[in-house]
Subunit: 371 residues, 2 copies
């Protein structure tokens, strides 16, 4: 296919930068009341805008910082005050007012995604693959000559390669299924990094690995490697990962358990699926519509996780009530982990209906299309 890369990339980048208005510029301790400003001198994370998008360029907080801020008496905040949770959920659901800037991506009459109208306009150059139509409202479809999933996967893949890292950063040669809903027939498969640019629903698995000792629950938390391209150094689940094409949820989880935490199948086969959370986040041209299938795994008291793939710096076992404090008080966690852990807190009775806006918070865990 003809590929006039220079012109296209330049126009994409200039448009992208001008639209990119959401950044993590706040000091991540701003959830503390002003009188604790002496603590805010502990500037624990900064953000930067990079070609790869929004990410924390460095997270210099340590486990000591995490433990300190997690203590019940670190702050006089009320654990039944749900505001801190709402703030973290808001971070996962930005830009809803910008939905009108996106046009549907339709295959065989079904909406499978959304493209920013300017990105969609640019894709007209690839007429053998994408068809931009203004018939019955603007939308994008695939060229009808692409008859099979394989044809579509290949053709779209070539466009992604053509656009390159400057337009679609973080290409990792991992394919995500494009469907209308979970478990529905796959129309084609798309490079994972491109998923938000096409607004396709992306599915993942997150696991709450916990231990129960004398009736008290503790959650295993990981600290991401500083060299991860996204959210380096931030806190994360014991095990989590995207759900690529061709592998079932439970099987994918057991694979991630081995790679990320050294959990053998004899233990990970005890993980139970417990539901899902979802969010919809708009940032520039990216429309993330993620659905995370959640699992709980009660681990033996003496189990020690060991990362196998170099993506996790270290793990720590923290009382669940202290983890809740970290979520409410800081932005230490990779944002979507806060949703999954908040769901754990609901299901295990750590958030109570006597708290103001209990039901609102519950609803907000599935603000995206959860299907």
């Amino acid at each position: 296919m003809a590929c006039n890369t220079q012109t296209i990339r330049h126009s994409f980048i200039s448009l992208y930068n001008s639209k990119c208005s959401h950044v993590f510029t706040k000091n991540i301790l701003t959830t503390f009341p002003a009188r604790f400003s002496s603590r805010s001198s502990m500037k624990l994370a900064t953000s930067s805008r990079s070609a790869s998008g929004i990410s924390f360029s460095s997270s210099s907080f340590t486990w000591n910082d995490v433990v300190k801020v997690s203590q019940p008496d670190y702050s006089p905040d009320d654990s039944s005050d749900l505001n801190g949770y709402f703030e973290k959920i808001k971070i996962c659901n930005r830009g809803s007012e910008l939905q009108s800037e996106f046009v549907p991506f339709i295959i065989q009459g079904q909406v499978v995604g959304y493209l920013h109208n300017r990105f969609a306009w640019q894709l007209r150059r690839y007429g053998e693959v994408f068809v931009y139509s203004e018939d019955k409202g603007c939308h994008v479809t695939l060229n009808s000559k692409l008859k099979t999933a394989e044809d579509r996967t290949k053709a779209v893949g070539e466009v992604i390669k053509c656009l390159g890292e400057e337009v679609i950063p973080g290409i990792r040669n991992e394919l995500y299924p494009v469907t209308s809903s979970f478990g529905a027939p796959i129309f084609f498969s798309l490079e994972r990094a491109a998923a938000p640019y096409f607004g396709i629903k992306a599915y993942g698995v997150h696991m709450n690995g916990y231990v129960e000792i004398d009736g008290q629950k503790f959650l295993w938390i990981g600290k991401r490697s500083q060299v991860k391209p996204t959210y380096p150094g931030m806190l994360d689940h014991l095990v989590a990962g995207g759900l690529p094409h061709g592998i079932a949820c439970g099987e994918n989880l057991m694979k991630e358990c081995e790679e990320e935490a050294g959990i053998p199948r004899s233990i990970s086969n005890g993980a139970i699926p417990v539901g899902a959370v979802s969010y919809m986040d708009i940032d520039g041209y990216r429309y993330k519509r993620d659905v995370l299938v959640c699992y709980d795994l009660k681990l033996p008291e003496d189990f020690i996780p060991e990362n196998q793939d170099g993506e996790v710096e270290s793990f720590k076992l923290i009382p669940i009530t202290h983890v809740a404090n970290v979520i409410r008080r800081t932005e230490f966690f990779k944002p979507n982990c806060s949703l999954v852990i908040t769901d754990f807190l609901f299901r295990h009775g750590y958030i109570c209906p006597e708290s103001f806006r209990y039901l609102d918070l519950l609803q907000s865990l599935r603000r995206g299309d959860c299907s």
Copy 2:
């Protein structure tokens, strides 16, 4: 207040009966494949249309029938086939296509409910209480002379009394709070039986009382008394009840635990809140918008429930997988119990993401406004 009861009641009833089209006429074993029609001769429940609305006039199934149909080998159906759950959820969410027949009920600029347009029209006779307006779209408000919650409660209560049992059946002198959302300030309190006629959100608590023996879970199930005005003889939770005005969720649950199952506070204070389900059901003039706060209580193995208030015939402890079979295969359960138990099945890992339409089913548990 002037109260021309004869004319109003007649007009209400004739309109109500003509609109009342949803009845439980199906044999409740129709979820079985046709080749099991010999079993369908076991006609276990019939419905009838009565002045009180839709209810089972008699449920002649016994615990033996329940146990028989719950057995794994009773039917060759696949436990990972979620269709049976979808059918039960549909029963709780009828008439969505009829929403356009309802007009909002607005207090202090906030929508607190919905009235069928014909019921709303009839209420114009009570102009000292209700104001029917066509300004900026049809809606109903309360007369602005009613300044306080007490004024409103009293005035609306008198209209309800005036309308009487033939229009608002099942009056039980139990007041429900009318708010815009859970925990928000109360505008007034309304007779519980009238709640669906005003489409107000009604909150309740449902508790999954279960036992765990050697890693297997069992659920305590009750069979409602045959003299209950609604859903007589049907299966129900161990403990459940509406949430009236002036009592917190957890406190209400403990009170119901004592009354309905003889569970002392020393045990019921171990119940944990685990989330909520919701549904929206339209039937004639009734627009039910119910939200059920769900609790799990793990009971001692040797605990035997004893009903104190005469509303439950008897209880039985059934393996949770068998309860799931009853839900999928029959309509033995009071409809909203199926939602709560299905939520339990999700949270405890009995429904898996490998099942077709897993996420759709999860979403459908909160089809109503869950706030």
